[in-house]
């Protein structure tokens, strides 16, 4: 018995191509049934995310399984599927790397593990997961957990939004009762505000020079619009200020903030300055209780986290290698050794 992995991902196919081969949840059961009907395929698990479409199959004849998979995918998409493929043990190693987030666009991201679990669950419910596949996926979940706990592969936030969320968490703890003000309704401000909302922020005030744009964004994110001339009046009540106006000079200066901070009675203020040129004078970071982060500092933290993650890859690979060995030993123990060499061809 061999394990076959075949598919396409963000490295081998552009988004235009990937979206043609993506499989919707509603189509999954039917597709799994068709895959299982390929000659030589005993079991199949299909993983379809925004970054990858992959088949994991248990098969006595991987080449036939691969050709059958290619034909089915190409027929669905109407174009030839540019597939890569691996057989045992590379297929095992590949799944362990995928589940651990090592093969993701952002190294160490954890969302993929949930997607792998879901793919396995769908196949198990559809009855297309055979014993080797059950064992393989259960093992992959253990590997992912082990990699996550024993290394720093998930260390730190890796996007501007997630950095802002982590910093806000380190200042305020829970974000549920925190109030956010957006100054200047730009796209990054909106994304950052949404990231904060995903962590519990409920109250968002949007203020923009064009009131209509503020009202539009406020409606989109469930906030409240405020005339730009009045933003200072709400200053005492807010905890996080996201600023991205088109002002040619700093609008947040120590002189302007000093009287406003007195109204806050020592409560901390997190200023996220996403504007270029900057809206905030860097000197406000020296004021007590004010924590200023501009776009550069947020991106530097994200880059630093990614560096740490990259440095951890070697440790992760070593851990995965041990698990691959363990799984291959298990396969050998239940099957007679296969005598069909299968090499990677793409």
């Amino acid at each position: 018995m061999n394990i076959l992995c075949a598919g396409l991902n963000h490295r081998t196919a552009h988004l235009d191509v990937r979206e043609r081969f993506a499989v919707r949840d509603s189509e999954m059961e039917d597709l799994l049934g068709r895959l299982r009907s390929i000659e030589g395929v005993s079991g199949a698990v299909m993983l379809s995310t925004c970054n990858r479409v992959e088949l994991y199959a248990s098969s006595l004849c991987p080449m036939r399984a691969l050709e059958g998979f290619r034909t089915i995918l190409s027929e669905r998409a109407g174009v030839e599927a540019p597939l890569y493929h691996h057989a045992t043990p590379q297929a095992v190693r590949h799944l362990f790397r995928v589940a651990s987030g090592l093969d993701s666009m952002v190294i160490g991201e954890t969302e993929i593990l949930g997607q792998v679990k879901k793919a396995y669950s769908v196949a198990a419910d559809a009855g297309t997961a055979t014993r080797p596949l059950h064992k393989l996926f259960q093992h992959a979940f253990r590997v992912a957990k082990s990699v996550r706990t024993e290394t720093q592969i998930t260390s730190g936030p890796t996007s501007v939004g997630s950095v802002a969320v982590e910093l806000a968490g380190k200042i305020f703890g829970s974000l549920e009762d925190r109030r956010v003000m957006i100054l200047g309704a730009g796209e990054i401000s909106e994304r950052t505000a949404r990231s904060l909302q995903s962590r519990g922020v409920r109250s968002v005030i949007v203020s923009n020079r064009t009131y209509e744009r503020a009202a539009q964004l406020a409606a989109e994110i469930g906030g409240m619009a405020l005339h730009f001339d009045h933003w200072e009046k709400s200053f005492a009540d807010i905890d996080i200020l996201i600023s991205s106006t088109n002002a040619p000079h700093a609008i947040l200066t120590p002189e302007k903030l000093a009287p406003l901070l007195k109204l806050r009675r020592g409560a901390p203020l997190f200023v996220i300055d996403l504007a270029v040129p900057r809206d905030a004078d860097p000197a406000i970071n020296e004021m007590e209780g004010v924590f200023l982060y501009d776009i550069d500092s947020l991106e530097q933290i994200a880059a630093l986290s990614l560096d740490i993650r990259r440095q951890e890859v070697v440790r992760c690979e070593s851990l995965i290698e041990q698990h691959v060995g363990g799984f291959i030993s298990w396969m050998r123990s239940i099957h007679a050794p296969e005598s069909h060499p299968f090499r990677r061809t793409a």
Binding site: I171, G173, N285, Q300, L304
Partner: protein
Amino acid sequence: MERIALLASTLCYLFSFGHTLYILGAGRFQPGRFNFLAMALGALAQTWYLCLRGAAEHSCPIGNLSETLIFLSWSIALIYLVIGTAYRLSLMGAFTAPLVLLLQIIALLLPSEVHVSFFRPNPWVETHAALSLVAYGAFGLACVAGLMFLVQEGQLKSRRPAPIFHHLPPISILSEATMRLLWIGFLLLTLSFISGLLAHLAVAGAKFLFSLLIWLIYAAILFAAKSGRLGGRRFATAVSLAFLLALILLPVIERLSGRA
């Protein structure tokens, strides 16, 4: 036996501190159960020592500076075990262990003779002395939380946080914990003064004035913080400096105390 109990507790705190240094060096930043267990065992061994001493002296074992420091480090460890569990303040043990260990080592280096009391101890005097030191313990842990605040605040201000930043608690939580510990310490110290009055202890002289000075300093810090005049950083700095001053004055108060 007393010496064994004391050495055992010191070794436990030393292990906790050493283990913390090791894991911080390894970049793991999660002391976990081992450190907590070591601190708990250390406090247990100290309790054993204090019980033995108390039985030998027929009074609360704070008859000399060595015993006082052991009682103080025991108070800090005990309050940490309660607060650390209740608030789940990560890395607080890493900051508490060195302080407790330092007090314990100083206590070990000082002479510590048993002073057997042949008179029946006045319960109000015992309560007064014990409450004062437990209050100091709360102030000590407030100082630890304050120092953690300063480290975390410095990380946030730097805009290039080191890996430890991800493992320290949020500054608002640290500020809240510091404030609560300060209130606990302040109330205990006030109760200690009341029990001192009930024991008819002298309300004049250097010992009383030094004790009153510490009470007034903490009262001023609490008032300033509550009225919004003392922001996070200055509050944490004031709490840390106040405990440093209290530690400096402790031997003076101990020497001036009639119990010595």
